[in-house]
């Protein structure tokens, strides 16, 4: 008994930082996901020349809370012949996969749950692919044709684009030379340049593949309202649906974090090694203070008193965060805090930029048909990703073995990759044209 207590105490002593990080992730991510939904709705409204949610709270800032409350009190309906255990299990698998894969991610140089395991990226990739089971089992357990069809299509889409995403990640890993998450960012600091500039095609492939991985537009055929009702999520209502929703947005954050770590320099500021750019260190505090000032400005313009009080609260929390970011800069003995705080800020800023790109593409591009989607994945992205792995490897070999200039090697292999991309685009169009001609000819023969 005493030995067990002693064991638990030593466990807590060695692992308390990671435990706290884990608890923060599990507690904060649902709230963040709710506010990402609000940001998406506001952005969608802005791009469609309207205002978006404005009623609940000032400028609609309390909308996610109202939505969460509504979903929690909704009636829980289970279809008649549904397999109850699997019906209960499927949303849980989706959410668990998304949350656990956040465990290996480093949201800053000090915030990481898995104490930098040897296979960080592999772990994130693998566990986030476990969310597949949530989808396919959810579609199966709903005992409905449309759900099953949507689930099978979604699973096929995810599996296809996982390969492309993995190969794009391999290009980034070739440059980094390691699978550890922190070591990848440190490699970018060592190179002095973000990997997106050394392997831009890989970043593009990963961007497209991650949009398909998270079932976002333009690849959201399986959950679009006009297509299959809501695909695999049709029969889930109330809290179960909110779990799927949370899993989708948590997956978005995960792929954003992986792209940021691998390609966008993780928690490094732009130009991390260049000394005369050190003034960029002041940007985080100034940015947050500017947001706070804008909130103060809008608070003055609110008509209802409680709304203006709420804006004042938001503004003051912005100022507190800005002070927190500025203090390590100004007060020299506290400078050890700087990598942690500023790193987290830059990381979240980059993930936010990535998610903004996701949302921007959602509001701009029309939806892909399922066969077009599969064609894009298998005929274009996977061959291009293979060519890209080869070209990144060649660039590295040219620089390390033959002593070429880094940028010349990168430019040369980039030209080769883009040539391959153009070739793939041209031939895949020919295949589409040929298939259409063949089907048109055969349907003509049927008519005749």
């Amino acid at each position: 008994m005493a030995a067990a207590a002693q064991g638990i105490l030593t466990f807590l002593q060695t692992w308390w930082v990671e435990l706290v990080c884990g608890i923060v992730i599990v507690a904060v991510v649902p709230l963040i996901a709710g506010y990402v939904v609000l940001v998406e709705r506001k952005l969608m409204a802005d791009m469609q020349a309207r205002l978006g949610p404005m009623r609940v709270g000032p400028h609609g800032l309390l909308q996610p809370i109202a939505d969460a409350f509504k979903l929690l009190i909704k009636e829980d309906i289970i279809p008649d012949d549904a397999d109850k255990i699997i019906f209960w299990l499927a949303p849980i698998m989706s959410v668990s996969a998304a949350m656990v894969s956040m465990g290996a991610l480093a949201f800053g140089p000090t915030f990481q749950v898995a104490r930098d395991i040897n296979v960080g990226i592999l772990f994130v990739l693998g566990v986030s692919s476990l969310g597949l089971f949530g989808i396919v089992l959810g579609g199966w357990a709903s005992n409905s044709h449309y759900s099953l069809l949507g689930a099978l299509r979604s699973t096929a889409q995810l599996v296809s684009y996982e390969t492309a995403a993995g190969l794009a990640i391999v290009s980034g890993l070739l440059l980094a030379g390691t699978l550890k998450i922190r070591a990848i960012v440190e490699a970018q600091q060592h190179f002095g340049v973000w990997f997106i500039f050394l392997a831009p095609v890989a970043f593009f492939i990963y961007l497209v593949a991650s949009i398909a991985e998270t079932n976002r537009a333009p690849f959201d055929l399986t959950e679009a309202e006009s297509e299959l009702v809501a695909g695999y999520m049709t029969e889930f209502s109330g809290f179960r649906w909110s779990l799927y929703f949370l899993a989708e947005y948590a997956n978005m954050i995960v792929v954003g974090a992986v792209a940021t770590t691998l390609f966008l320099g993780g928690w490094l500021r732009p130009f991390p090694n260049v000394r005369w750019m050190n003034w960029l260190d002041a940007v985080p505090a100034l940015l947050v203070a500017a947001i706070g000032a804008y909130c103060v400005f809008r608070a003055g313009k609110q008509t209802v008193r409680i709304q203006s009080l709420f804006m004042w609260a938001v503004a003051s929390s912005c100022f507190v965060v800005a002070a927190l970011l500025a203090v390590p800069l100004v007060v020299a003995p506290l400078r050890f805090l700087m990598p942690g705080l500023h790193g987290a800020f830059w990381f979240l800023l980059k993930v936010g930029g990535y998610l903004y790109t996701f949302m921007w593409l959602r509001f701009t591009l029309p939806r892909y048909r399922f066969d077009q989607l599969m064609r894009l994945g298998w005929y274009f992205l996977i061959p291009l990703a293979l060519v890209n792995v080869f070209s990144v490897g060649s660039a590295m070999m040219l620089e390390l073995e033959f002593g070429w200039n880094r940028w010349v090697a990168v430019a040369l292999t980039l030209i080769v990759t883009l040539g391959a991309a153009l070739f793939l685009l041209a031939t895949s169009d020919k295949r589409t044209a040929a298939a259409n001609a063949a089907s048109a000819a055969s349907s003509d023969s049927y008519a005749g």
Partner: protein
């Protein structure tokens, strides 16, 4: 102590879920229990400091093979009520053979009075913090000593891919 807690946790889950998998009536339930067994096996790999195999087990086995199994189970779903008879006529033979094997191993251990690995052959495992980084060591061996099996495995996968596509294509 953390080692033994993790081992018993994952081992218990693996054995219990394996036993459940073999006895379920609904093949989807069997597949879900196999998924948990495979995840527990991945946990055992992690506990043995084989981190690369832990990642590969999750990506390949659980994320690849089990998805394939679930797809096929859905494809060959029979509309008849879930089969009346689960086990073949050979179940008693199987039970008898399994019992005999377990008894044999138990007798062997009781006679030796110690578990293998703790006996006269003094072999201590390398302490965990002096292990080389796992992915690097495995990659080193895969690309130098075991390069030929690596290439043959890739040819095997190509052949299997072509074979599976041909077998499952509609005529």
């Amino acid at each position: 102590m953390l080692d033994s807690v993790l081992f018993y946790f994952f081992a218990g889950i693996a054995v219990i879920c394996a036993a459940m998998m073999v006895t379920r009536r609904n093949p989807i339930h069997s597949a879900v229990f196999l998924i948990t067994t495979l995840l527990a096996t991945a946990g055992i790999f992690l506990q043995l400091r084989a981190e690369f195999l832990f990642g590969v087990q999750i990506i390949l086995y659980v994320g690849g093979i089990m998805v394939l199994f679930i797809f096929v189970i859905m494809l060959v779903r029979l509309d008849a009520p879930l089969q009346e008879l689960r086990f073949t006529f050979q179940r008693w033979v199987a039970a008898f053979v399994a019992l005999a094997l377990v008894l044999e191993v138990a007798v062997m251990f009781l006679l030796l009075r110690r578990l293998p690995g703790q006996g006269s052959l003094v072999l201590r495992a390398v302490p965990a913090d002096r292990l080389p980084p796992n992915s690097e060591a495995l990659a080193q061996s895969l690309f130098s000593s075991y390069l030929l099996p690596f290439e043959i495995a890739s040819v095997l996968l190509l052949v299997a891919m072509v074979g599976a596509v041909v077998m499952a294509k509609k005529r």
